[in-house]
Symmetry: C2
Subunit: 339 residues, 2 copies
């Protein structure tokens, strides 16, 4: 369904979409990963955006002349330096029923800066007033930072630079102001000392973020014991006896490496405070296309559409395809336990 | 010269001081590291601030009952979890001549939050108008973040929370506004993909920081090829044919692990842009107390006082003691080369 941007490239995955209602439509902002189509057996290749020349280039290496490690399908390590096997951009898809989508033939957001030489990935969209704020992972050899863009119509996009320095991804901006400020969840990845945990921050202008606070940690011996991070943009829930922000997040299980989804209920006036948390996953890889694929054992969401009891979760399956699942808000809330 | 805060603790190091002029005095804000004084041979101990009870506690483990790794003198790894062998606080020292200091008998800033359970370290002081802004490393099992405090008199201090999430240390805030905004250098430490490099950010209120940009990277095959980070607070130079911000930074040499100092000259109107950079170190470990100590082969600055040609650098030597060196501004500038 998705056309590559160039003849030399092939689409290897369309996944981890942001999702939001726009008028009568459902909009997805898909991560489209492209790899080099033809690579000789004795070669390895990596597609890279070269900001100095302002163009995508294909780097190639002779396997015999370098130390090459291709253990992880997502990356190629050449003489100790990491390159990605694919480069991602963001593309709009539209649907009137939320199930059948038309994918635009051209990208919405392509890599354009030195911070995006390895691609732009995993967008989230937050509507505030008439503006749709888009945050995404800006990936390069400098690390994985979070960039910000905005649009009013999903046709013209403005870029606003890096809002969280590396490594920080899985940022979700809450759709509203609290105490006059914007709030976001973010997920720093400290090297050495530290934990891969969810933090919060606040901002008065979307561009500068401060007041960083720890929100949630992996839980030893549970389904989310390895690492956790933001998933879909939190939405306000006032139903079934709870009032707060419901944040669907992802958690990784240490023993299996499986990516599953759970929920955090955050205090309505302070989204850095977890009120309740899913005891068990609300979704785990089950279908063949979730268990097997480019990177198997993964369900990973960047966006959902909530309508009454129906929580329609759009998600990437096995880092390869985009899927959708309808969950019951009542059941998500019934599955919440101690924070 | 420095009294411990409690009988059970001994001062194991006084180093990495912030430095600034305050009226007729030179003020240092010393990092005072304290370790547990008496530990039985079959035990290991770690001093920790417990935010839940609001007090410093000493954790002890029987060596025989746990996997204990004490390879690095700065930390103890117990069953895979890292603890520090000492806990640091910040203490004021005053001098009228910049050489002879009186150290206050009590701390200025002690660990007080969950983000500081392993200590507060490596302060930098930036004066803007009548306020002295103090940033420091907030160290805990959650990682190494950067906290902000302020004072007008070095007697009463206000705290302002976390301004850079983990892992991010070696923050230096420029002493002035550029284009109406504050600017800082910072040093994220990405895990996995990424580089330990110096970045910049800007802020309108000191609390929320945005517009993150890459400033400088380690240089392959040079004295700063392993990692680099901010050192002293940058100061404005208009002399010897240059105009810009001079930032004395630290660089680590891969082969030896040595910490040396160099300088970056940053554009006066854009401190994210490096105009020139030291070819060779402006200071490297030479004296016995720099080459040998708690962690040998280290000169590390968090502050200097510039007066005409004399750049008086205060620095930590071998993570143990505080030392001072007078450098010539003309010679620092003469040693600058390509960015």
């Amino acid at each position: 369904m998705v056309q590559p941007t160039r003849d030399e490239l092939g689409v290897v995955g369309v996944f981890n979409p942001a999702a939001i209602r726009h008028g009568d439509d459902t909009i997805l902002l898909l991560r489209v990963a492209e790899g080099v189509r033809e690579v000789a057996e004795d070669m390895v290749a990596a597609p890279v955006y070269d900001a100095a020349v302002g163009a995508m280039v294909i780097r190639r290496w002779h396997r015999g002349e370098h130390r090459v490690d291709t253990t992880d399908p997502r990356m190629t390590v050449i003489d100790g330096k990491t390159w990605l096997t694919s480069i991602s951009h963001l593309r709009v898809a539209r649907s009137s029923d939320g199930i059948h989508f038309i994918v635009e033939p051209v990208p919405a957001l392509l890599p354009t800066t030195v911070y995006e030489s390895f691609g732009v990935e995993d967008a989230r969209i937050t509507r505030i007033d008439a503006t749709y704020w888009i945050n995404y992972s800006a990936v390069s050899s400098y690390g994985i930072a979070t960039g910000l863009a905005s649009t009013r119509d999903f046709r013209v996009f403005a870029r606003h630079g890096i809002i969280f320095p590396p490594n920080n991804r899985d940022v979700t901006i809450l759709p509203g102001r609290i105490g006059g400020r914007y709030h976001a969840l973010h997920r720093p990845m400290p090297a050495g000392l530290g934990e891969v945990a969810i933090w919060s921050a606040s901002s008065h202008d979307m561009l500068a973020w401060g007041d960083h606070r720890l929100v949630a940690m992996p839980r030893a011996g549970r389904w989310d014991d390895e690492k956790i991070g933001g998933g879909a943009v939190p939405f306000r829930v006032r139903a079934h006896g709870v009032d707060g922000w419901l944040a669907v997040y992802h958690g990784v299980t240490k023993a299996s490496g499986t990516y599953s989804l759970g929920a955090l209920l955050l205090a309505p006036d302070d989204p850095s405070r977890v009120v309740a948390r899913s005891i068990d996953p609300i979704m785990a890889p089950e279908a063949p296309y979730e268990r097997e694929g480019f990177y198997g054992g993964v369900v990973f969401t960047c966006g959902l559409v909530d309508e009454g009891d129906r929580v329609r979760v759009y998600y990437g399956a096995a880092d390869g395809v985009t899927a959708v699942a309808d969950l019951s808000l009542a059941r998500i809330i019934a599955g919440l336990g101690a924070p």
